[in-house]
């Protein structure tokens, strides 16, 4: 055997590794080498990878499919709700670390991170729908399985998320009448209908009833404050509160 033979054998030996440039796993079904006994990710794992990679749209799609296929597996619901909330533009880290126990109103606290029509423009309605889907996902869990005292991790997470997302949904609904495409615009409050006001109050009431920690207390305080505002209709009271609370 001569030097050339050695060089050829060496190159052939190292070629499979070098050709993949450090990016492909030999056993990955999608990008690995054909014929290897690959390890295919199931949908749960694909959703997990999508979430970790920030692809919330893909995660929502996968988790929604799984929930539809196995509606009794409630462990997935909070994860799907979180994915919906994230898709709506809400940063989950901001909302769970927000200080709801201080002197600030729920509006002041959430204003810093809840999406607004100013920021999202025409995509705001889609954002609202996603947030509502997050709320609906959590309310689909039987109430008896949503309990802060439950030993199931998903149950306590569901209660906390339901409070936060309903509060966020209420604030987002209100933002439709306080923010225009160009910025804060309280004159839009005059366009709020009775139905709009009921939706906002229903969201806040749901958040308060979910009883998920400090946010629920803060929302309950907001509901009391709305009740005590001047005005004869719900929309007048909400309009007055929204300006005083800011």
């Amino acid at each position: 055997m001569n030097v050339t033979f050695y060089i050829i054998i060496t190159l052939v030996s190292f070629m499979p590794v070098l050709s993949s440039c450090g990016t492909a796993n030999f056993f990955d079904c999608n990008v690995g080498y054909a014929g290897s006994n690959c390890a295919r990710l199931n949908k749960d794992e694909q959703a997990r990878v999508a979430l970790d990679n920030g692809d919330v749209a893909a995660a929502v799609e996968l988790l929604a499919e799984l929930v539809a296929e196995e509606p009794d597996v409630y462990e997935r619901y909070p994860l799907l709700a979180a994915a919906y909330a994230s898709k709506s533009g809400l940063d989950i880290f901001n909302i769970v670390t927000a200080n709801f126990g201080g002197d600030s109103s729920i509006l002041q606290v959430m204003e810093t991170f809840v999406p607004t029509p100013t920021a999202l423009g025409s995509a705001y309605e889609s954002s609202l729908r996603d947030m509502n889907s997050g709320v609906q996902t959590l309310t689909a869990i039987p109430p008896s399985l949503r309990a802060t005292t439950s030993s199931d991790k998903y149950a306590t997470s569901a209660v906390l998320q339901l409070t936060l997302y309903q509060a966020a949904y209420g604030v987002m609904l209100l933002n439709k009448f306080t923010y225009s495409a160009s910025g804060y615009d309280p004159s839009l409050l005059a366009t709020m209908t009775a139905e709009d006001a009921v939706l906002i109050l229903r969201a806040f009431l749901g958040a308060a009833e979910a009883a998920g920690g400090g946010a629920a207390t803060s929302v309950a305080s907001a509901l009391s404050a709305i009740q005590s505002q001047p005005g004869s209709t719900d929309q007048e009271k909400i309009a007055a509160w929204s300006q005083s609370a800011r």
Binding site: M1, Y6, I9, T10, S13, F14, V17, L18, S20, C21, G22, T23, A24, N25, F26, F27, D28, G32, N37, A39, R40, L41, E45, R48, V49, L51, D52, G54, E75, P78, L79, L80, A81, A82, A83, S86, D91, I92, F93, N94, V96, T97, K153, Y154, T156, S157, A158, L160, Q161, G213
Partner: protein, 379 residues
């Protein structure tokens, strides 16, 4: 007519009844009970072996011999093999990249991107560790005192229940291994045994950032103790290597039993036993008097007692050793490509490796790309 590798193997097996006896012994060794166990990886690996895909049953470097396969000890020239200390540092590529981005962005206005910064911190797993082993090896026996500590901290924006969570995992192994080995049937068969004392812990903890009770518990003395709890015990590994040497090509078949009969660990930690595992490996070496190219493939944990996926149990790689001082290796470690170089400058041995360790149960779930730098002094 030129022989292919397989035809050469067939000739090899036919050529001697001693091989039949060897295969019979090998067959007997892989019959045993299936049990639950820890990771299928060796408790200590040499950096150059890691770079070569971790396929070290048929060829291992220095202290790696003791824990990869003690039956490899007799193969080599002379009586003395190695006396020295090796220290390796492990740093996650993500951490390095993050540090680089911080240094490159210093001086810029970061107030506007504080949210982005927090997100980056949340998405940047921290993986680091250290390996150290002082060892002495000669043709007949060897011992090594080793320490291996590796931890992984990953903040998840979406934990298992959708809320942000922090995942902390660590592997801490310290101990002593004493190996003896002997050649049987000339150089065709080698048998080796390693007796070991292990002091080990594998904390694995996930805390949701909203779980105040768990966070408070972690700050308490008992909570911290659960993270640092270690267990200790004695165990035995055994290995066989069938070796067919040619003037330019060698063949090796290896079988190894880790933790023969199961290594019981006692203490307050959760790791109570290292289960018995069987591994088999194949090696093919092309060589002349100074250079060699070693191709190897290991099938670890044949009975799958560890629960590891196939991607973690199959290891393969190539090591090219030039003039006995320079080495280049590449392979598949946990299914991911790995690379490394080694410079053996007589008293000093330097190794650099890049590999990816899969922390998840399937490829791509939680890969951690890792830089490893090793420094050894010895002779």
């Amino acid at each position: 007519m030129k022989r292919t590798f397989l035809s050469h193997q067939r000739v090899l097996i036919r050529s001697s009844t001693r091989w039949r006896w060897g295969l019979l012994v090998l067959s007997c060794l892989v019959v045993g009970s299936v049990a639950f166990g820890r990771s299928s990886a060796p408790i200590y690996e040499d950096p150059f072996d890691v770079a070569g895909g971790g396929a070290s049953l048929t060829r291992a470097s220095q202290a790696g011999l003791l824990f990869s396969n003690p039956a490899l000890i007799p193969y080599g020239t002379g009586i003395h093999r190695w006396l020295g200390n090796e220290t390796s540092l492990i740093v996650g590529k993500d951490s390095v990249d993050f540090a680089k981005s911080l240094s490159s962005s210093s001086g810029q206005d970061t107030s506007a991107s504080s949210g982005e910064f927090i997100n980056t911190v949340l998405e940047t797993p921290i993986h680091a560790g250290v390996l150290n082993c002082f060892s002495y090896i000669n043709r007949f026996f060897g011992f090594g005192v080793f320490n291996r500590g590796e931890f992984d901290i990953a903040a998840k924006k979406y934990g298992d229940t959708g809320l942000p969570a922090l995942k902390f995992r660590a592997e801490s192994y310290q101990g002593l291994g004493v190996s003896v080995a002997s050649l049987v049937f000339g150089k065709m068969l080698s048998a080796g045994v390693t007796g070991k004392f292990i002091y080990a812990g594998e904390p694995d903890l996930t805390i949701e950032l909203t779980d105040q009770e768990a966070i408070a518990n972690l700050q308490s003395a008992s909570g911290l103790k659960s993270l640092t709890a270690m267990n200790a015990g004695y165990g035995v590994d055994a290995g066989l290597v069938f070796f067919r040497q040619g003037s330019r090509a060698d063949y090796r078949v290896a079988v190894k039993i880790d933790d023969f009969g199961g290594t019981k660990l006692s203490g307050t930690g959760d790791l109570k036993e290292l289960k018995q595992m069987y591994h088999v490996g194949l090696g093919y070496t092309l060589h002349n008097s100074l250079d060699s190219l070693h191709l190897s493939a290991d099938y670890r944990d044949v009975q799958s007692v560890s629960g590891d996926g196939l991607f973690k149990r199959v290891r393969m790689g190539a090591k090219l050793l030039l003039r006995q001082h320079l080495g280049v290796s590449a392979g598949y470690y946990d299914g991911w490509p790995s690379y490394g170089v080694e410079l053996d400058a007589w008293l000093v041995r330097l190794t650099a490796a890049y590999y990816t360790r899969e922390m998840g149960s399937k490829p791509g779930l939680e890969p951690r790309s890792v830089y490893l730098a090793g420094f050894a002094m010895g002779f």
